[in-house]
């Protein structure tokens, strides 16, 4: 009986009206769509080379895989979220979303050529501003950059920063090296300087295996492994002292899941006690640093249907500031409109929907 009630409850989400959706995905634009936003060199060479005909869909997130396109949101094209009308009708209106941050997951971020990657990122950002942000006041944008060349990434951040509808910088979870390493710090300094959190979204370059034990056969396995990559990135950011060096930096993990956080905290804090002399700039335990500087988008919620485990996990995390509401639209993370399970309770729900995003995104708070 209890099981039945729990299971029923789990289908009933809390209201999300008035919330700030911190992870929404307009379909990645076809390369050809970006031509008007590229300069003459890239426009001509892309056509000459046939790059404009190439799909830049990433193996880390095949666009038609069931996780990436919820069946009831799928358009004729096989994709979802490929028009503003669809995003309004499926994501903004039904959830009562007040503002939503568009995270464009584009292969631009992982192209081998530093310069081509930067050119495509710039074009995708411009495309987002013109085709989406100009047309829908509820939308906000993420500045996508390729992390592999910090200098070019910083230039793009500085170029885009004047447009305050861009509220964060977005990079992918898997890159050439762990993200705490110093080659990436100029990106973080530029983000903090411009009051932009750094969003690290699931996905990546796949230039090396996504696990330490080689290449998984299946996408479902690779998707599961993304959380492991996030764990490594989290500890890298902490251990390298990014938050000591750039104390104003806020990091948002998007589509990372969060139910792994307690075990991360336990192990990282314990090991730190034994080996902290290796990184003496860490003067507090990793979990405290994470709770102050890092935020996690809500979806996917990887917990059993039984709401008790989710509630216990939240208690283990022991930090009400850490979650940011997200639908992860159009990814298939929940059914119906049940983005915010009852286990969160009304008080925490309000924090997740509004207060935490406002505290995380200065640019949203400024004109909220």
């Amino acid at each position: 009986m209890n099981e039945m009630i729990r299971s029923l409850e789990s289908k009933l989400g809390l209201s999300t009206v008035g919330g700030i959706d911190c992870d929404l995905h307009p379909a990645s634009p076809a390369t050809k769509t970006l031509l008007p936003y590229l300069d003459e060199y890239w426009r001509e060479t892309f056509v000459m080379r046939g790059v404009d005909r190439l799909s830049l869909a990433m193996t880390s997130s095949p666009p038609r895989a069931p996780i990436n396109v919820r069946s009831d949101w799928k358009a004729e094209s096989g994709f979802a979220g490929d028009t503003l009308e669809a995003v309004r009708a499926q994501a903004l209106d039904p959830f009562g979303t007040r503002l939503a941050i568009c995270n464009v997951l584009h292969g631009a971020m992982i192209m081998h050529s530093d310069d081509m990657a930067a050119a495509l990122c710039g074009a995708a950002n411009e495309w987002l501003a013109r085709e989406w942000l100009d047309r829908e006041p509820r939308l906000r944008g993420s500045i996508i950059v390729s992390a592999q060349n910090a200098e070019l990434a910083v230039a793009e951040i500085e170029r885009r920063a004047a447009d305050h509808r861009f509220v964060q910088v977005l990079i992918l979870a898997q890159n050439d090296e762990p993200l705490g390493r110093r080659r990436y710090w100029p990106i973080y300094e530029a983000a903090a300087r411009n009051h932009l959190p750094l969003c690290i979204h699931a996905g990546g370059s796949n230039r090396h295996a996504p696990t330490a034990t080689g290449w998984p056969s299946y996408f479902v396995e690779s998707y599961v492994a993304q959380a492991s990559i996030f764990e490594s990135q989290l500890l890298s950011l902490v251990a390298e002292g990014v938050f000591q060096k750039v104390p104003d930096l806020k990091v948002v993990f998007a589509e990372s899941g969060f139910t792994w956080l307690p075990s991360f905290f336990w192990r990282a804090d314990k090991t730190w006690r034994g080996v902290r002399a290796e990184t003496p700039w860490l003067t507090e335990q990793p979990s405290d640093i994470v709770k102050r500087h890092v935020r996690f988008t809500l979806q996917p919620i990887e917990a059993p249907p039984d709401q008790d485990a989710l509630a216990r996990t939240l208690e283990h995390i022991d930090c009400d500031d850490i979650l940011l509401f997200s639908t992860d639209y159009p990814h298939a993370q929940f059914e119906g409109l049940n983005a915010l399970p009852v286990a969160f309770g009304e008080t925490l729900a309000k924090k997740i929907l509004i207060d935490n995003p406002l505290a995380t995104y200065p640019r949203i708070a400024a004109d909220f």
């Binding site: 110093r182 390298e240 000591q244 006690r273 034994g274 080996v275 003496p280 700039w281």
Partner: protein, 137 residues
């Protein structure tokens, strides 16, 4: 509170430690640059003998990538999990408020002086001309 003679000064070199048993307690005795300190021997984490830990300095940093070793010889790393304890206070570096070992007052006195006070020399005979380490419990 009693004062216990636990060692001769010259049997514990600078930077060394020694396990002494006093009034049924295991106590780790350290010589830090000629000064003596005593803390409870048992690590509060899983019970390892702190007297067997490495005596180290304090690694500090002003910013990532910058390293500085200070307070030479004033900390002991637990021989198992490496938790650092301040030999002077018994407090752990990572969690000084909650993870600490008891610290005992230590003094040094001439053997001649010992004959006059309420000392307990449990372990060995005291000779008048030598210096001794005294722990108060």
């Amino acid at each position: 509170m009693a004062r216990h003679v636990v060692a001769k000064v010259d049997e514990l070199d600078i930077g060394k430690s020694k396990l002494v048993k006093v009034a049924g307690r295991d106590i780790a005795l350290f010589n830090v640059k000629g000064e003596f300190f005593a803390i409870a021997n048992r690590c509060p984490h899983e019970g390892a003998d702190l007297c067997r830990g490495q005596v180290v300095g304090l690694a500090e940093s002003d910013e990532p990538g910058h390293y500085r070793m200070t307070r030479h010889g004033e900390l002991v790393r637990c021989p198992w999990h490496g938790w650092e304890f301040d030999i002077r206070t018994g407090k752990s570096w990572c969690d000084p408020a909650r993870t600490r070992v008891k610290s005992f007052d230590v003094s040094v006195a001439k053997g001649g002086a010992l004959a006059e006070g309420p000392y307990q020399a449990e372990v060995f005979p005291v000779s008048i001309d030598e210096d001794y380490v005294i722990v108060e419990i």
